[in-house]
């Protein structure tokens, strides 16, 4: 193979040179991209891109840019992070799930921007927040501060994914709603600070009930009868979610017969035969054709109610501003009705997102200080967060008294129901495996007409196994 012609030599050679240069550059870029994922600061852009539309916004001092500009060399940037922490320019990342009400995202960014001791990046997570956050907590690039429904789960606590917050509540401890603080405490250590109280309850259109001559239902049978009377062609009587109540009604239904998920001493809590009877009634309601099913938005949004698709709906206090905007004063509030005239009590679930600190945080003390600042000290922000967007009840009693928007009309009635009939959403030792077992059973009973007692005994087996696992 002799190459005499200079043109022939130059041709393939330069092409090869070109390809090798391009290939090399591409390989280098690929490696650099992989490498950058390990970096804390630099990876934030990559993380948000993977997260499918999650928005990371940086608030605060100029030090936020220190990592962002050096994405390719993030591996070099990592060692420098602790040193910059010593200089008081700590960067913390805080994760929220997507609150549906307009303005909430801007509000939490505003609160974070006002914090001076560290730069706080707020990441707003649309979509399935729990799954995304749970995966992120396994890595170094997860949040420092994050919110979790009813505080960190027992598995997160036992796996050491979250740090105990110590005496973060300080003198304000007695001011926080005791049941929520208890719910976020495990073996005497506090793992989350309650942000605001979320409450669920039933709303009904006063005019529709009046027209059909139905009084607000007070027992389960009355509720089923009311749903029947109120169903009228295109308007259904009741909306309990597109799964027919399997998800949201289970808890209230347990409490309404006097049972609970777990007993006070952490045993299986719903052996009461009335529970099976009540679930059986839910099945008859499901098959009656009086329940709204297949609505475009689920129970947590007010749309089915405000669009007049249903006369009664199970929803949350947070939807009140939207409901008032749509129907004005033409609605009333109710708890989940008691089992019968003689048995049980009305009930509503209350829960609170708890602000927690990840054990993988590089600056756990700074993160704790930030949680204390925002959710304990900044009472004005807490009040704003509770009532300026969707309605929530402040987790501190002294603030709840100041929440003017919760003092009148239906919101005041809801708060009254909360105080009389509120139950913490689910106990700490009620694991998500137990939850899945219950919701499977309820779905089988309600939708498919399975034998309630048989299905509930299957749940008991799972719950018992889960309790044995987590009771250490």
């Amino acid at each position: 193979m002799s190459i005499n012609s200079p043109e022939a030599a130059a041709g393939p050679f330069s092409r090869r040179r070109f390809i090798s240069a391009v290939g090399g550059a591409a390989a280098a870029a690929a490696l650099a991209a992989c490498g950058s994922n390990t970096g804390r600061n630099g990876s934030s852009s990559a993380t948000s891109a993977e997260a499918g539309g999650a928005t990371t916004s940086s608030a605060g001092s100029s030090s936020a840019g220190s990592g962002a500009g050096t994405t390719t060399f993030a591996t070099d940037a990592v060692p420098s992070t602790p040193s910059s922490a010593e200089q008081g320019t700590v960067t913390l990342s805080q994760w929220y799930h997507q609150y549906g009400e307009a303005g909430t995202q801007q509000a939490v960014q505003r609160y974070a921007a006002a914090y001076k001791a560290a730069t706080v990046k707020v990441q707003w997570n649309p979509g399935d927040y729990e799954k995304k956050a749970a995966s992120a907590l396994l890595t170094d690039s997860g949040p420092d501060v994050f919110e979790w429904g009813n505080g960190p789960s027992i598995d997160q606590i036992q796996a050491g994914q979250v740090v105990p917050l110590g005496d973060i509540l300080g003198a304000a401890k007695s001011d926080f709603t005791q049941s929520l603080v208890d719910r976020m405490t495990y073996q005497g250590k506090l793992y989350g600070v309650p942000q605001v109280i979320d409450m669920q309850m039933m709303v009904y259109r006063k005019s529709m009930l009046a027209k059909a001559n139905v009084k607000p239902p007070e027992t389960l049978d009355e509720l089923i009868a009311a749903a029947k009377t109120l169903s009228n062609g295109d308007v259904k009587g009741l909306f309990l979610g597109n799964d027919g109540g399997g998800g949201v009604a289970a808890g209230p239904l347990l409490w309404s017969v006097g049972a609970d998920y777990l007993t006070a001493d952490n045993q299986f809590g719903f052996g009461d035969p009335n529970v099976a009877v009540a679930f059986g009634k839910l099945h008859s309601l499901f098959t009656s054709g009086n329940l709204l099913l297949g609505a475009p938005s689920d129970w947590s949004a007010p749309d089915a109610f405000t669009q007049g698709l249903t006369a009664m709906q199970w929803t949350g206090l947070w939807t009140f501003p939207d409901i008032v905007k749509a129907v004005g004063d033409d609605f009333g509030v109710l708890p989940w009705p008691k089992f019968s005239a003689t048995v049980g009590k009305p009930a509503v679930p209350i829960g609170a997102y708890g602000s927690a600190v990840s054990a993988k945080s590089k600056n756990p003390d700074a993160a704790k200080a930030y949680v204390k600042w925002l959710w304990v000290d900044q009472t004005q922000d807490q009040l704003d967060f509770a009532q300026s967007f969707g309605f929530h009840v402040p987790a501190r009693k002294s603030l709840a008294d100041k929440a003017d928007k919760l003092k009148s009309g239906q919101a005041a009635q809801a708060v009254d129901i909360l105080q009389k009939y509120g139950h913490a959403q689910s106990p700490l030792l009620w694991t998500s495996a137990s939850g899945t077992a219950l919701s499977d059973a309820v779905s089988n009973i309600v939708k498919s007409g399975a034998n309630p007692a048989g299905e509930l005994s299957k749940v008991k087996t799972v719950v018992q196994a889960e309790l044995n696992r987590v009771l250490k």
Binding site: L138, D155, G241, V248, L293, G294, S300, P349
Partner: protein, 327 residues
């Protein structure tokens, strides 16, 4: 390694330094790695390491951690194989596969035969039926859920039913009758029929015309007889490939189930009904959901992989995968 030495002798080059020898004659080894290397690295990082890691995790008590320390042997496998929900998810898959595999097979073959015989607009029909393949399962699920099979009177199908005087059906909310299967199966048919149709069309074009001429001379009637004795046997290797692909795809089904049937759940955490829950969806909730139980999730994934492998091997043996269709 005799070949490179030989090559070098032919080209007359003398091997020099170690780096020079590693690069191979004409830098072949070097170029091999330049082109293959990035993909090997990508495959290793995103496919092989996670696979091996999940097998490793399946032997540990790995809750909320991917670096577990408590070895539990086969306990996770035992739990999964005795978990009624996991077993019922395998049952769900079998129901789904029994329906979707033959339906798609017959539908795709029928479409291919029709288009193959079309005299005009052949390219047009081919494109029209192939187009849905380009649509994502997630987008298609949303269209199916929000518009075609919307549960209220505003849905497309319910509007038609209303016109006929039938009350609206909440397709995805009820389990008796199981209308959700209609939604799931029609969605998958719409998306994948066109792709398999193209495979069959390619197969049809490979059948030599001589065979049909010879058959006609021998007195075979056009239509069923020709199809039964010429076309269908000639399509055997295509059919085998299509059936195996369909089965594996059915096993991997996740997107449409998850997007059609997952609901808001009790506290916003998300729920999924116990029916129509295929294995991947169930494992997703165990490992990646709020449970974060990677041990059981890994064990379930290994079991599922073994089941898929078993099905494929058995099917391959029965249908004669890899055998030449001319033999």
């Amino acid at each position: 390694m005799a070949t490179p030495v030989q090559d070098e002798r032919i080209t007359g080059r003398v091997s020099g330094t170690l780096g020079r020898r590693l690069a191979g004659p004409q830098n072949r080894n070097l170029w091999f790695w330049v082109f293959v290397g990035p993909f090997v690295v990508g495959l290793a990082i995103f496919v092989y390491i996670p696979m091996i890691w999940s097998v490793y995790l399946s032997f540990f008590d790995a809750r909320n951690t991917v670096t577990p320390s408590r070895f539990v042997g086969f306990a996770n496998y035992h739990d999964m194989l005795t978990d009624p929900a996991f077993l019922s998810s395998l049952g769900t898959f079998i129901v789904f596969a029994c329906f979707i595999v033959p339906t798609t097979y017959i539908g795709a073959l029928g479409l291919a035969l029709l288009i193959h015989r079309a005299r005009v607009f052949k390219a047009f029909f081919r494109s029209v039926f192939f187009l849905p393949t380009a649509c994502s399962y997630v987008v298609a699920s949303l269209i199916w859920k929000m518009s075609v099979f919307q549960g209220l009177r505003f849905g497309l199908l319910n509007t038609v039913l209303r016109f006929l005087g039938i009350a609206p059906v909440p397709w995805l909310s009820i389990s008796h009758p199981p209308w959700y299967w209609l939604v799931i199966v029609t969605l998958r048919l719409w998306l994948q029929l066109g792709f398999y149709m193209i495979l069959f069309l390619a197969g049809l074009q490979r059948i030599p015309v001589i065979l049909y001429e010879a058959a006609a001379v021998d007195g075979a009637k056009p239509g069923w007889q020709t199809f039964r004795y010429i076309t269908f046997p000639q399509l055997r290797s295509t059919s085998v490939a299509v059936l195996i692909l369909l089965l594996i795809n059915a096993f991997q089904s996740f997107d449409e189930f998850y997007n059609l049937l997952a609901n808001a759940g009790a506290s916003g955490g998300g729920g999924y009904p116990p029916y129509a829950r295929p294995p991947l969806v169930y494992l997703y909730y165990i490992a990646l959901g709020n449970q974060q139980d990677f041990g059981h999730g890994g064990a379930g994934a290994v079991i599922l992989a073994l089941v898929i492998a078993l099905f494929t091997v058995v099917q391959g043996k029965l249908l004669g995968l890899g055998r030449n269709s001319e033999q």
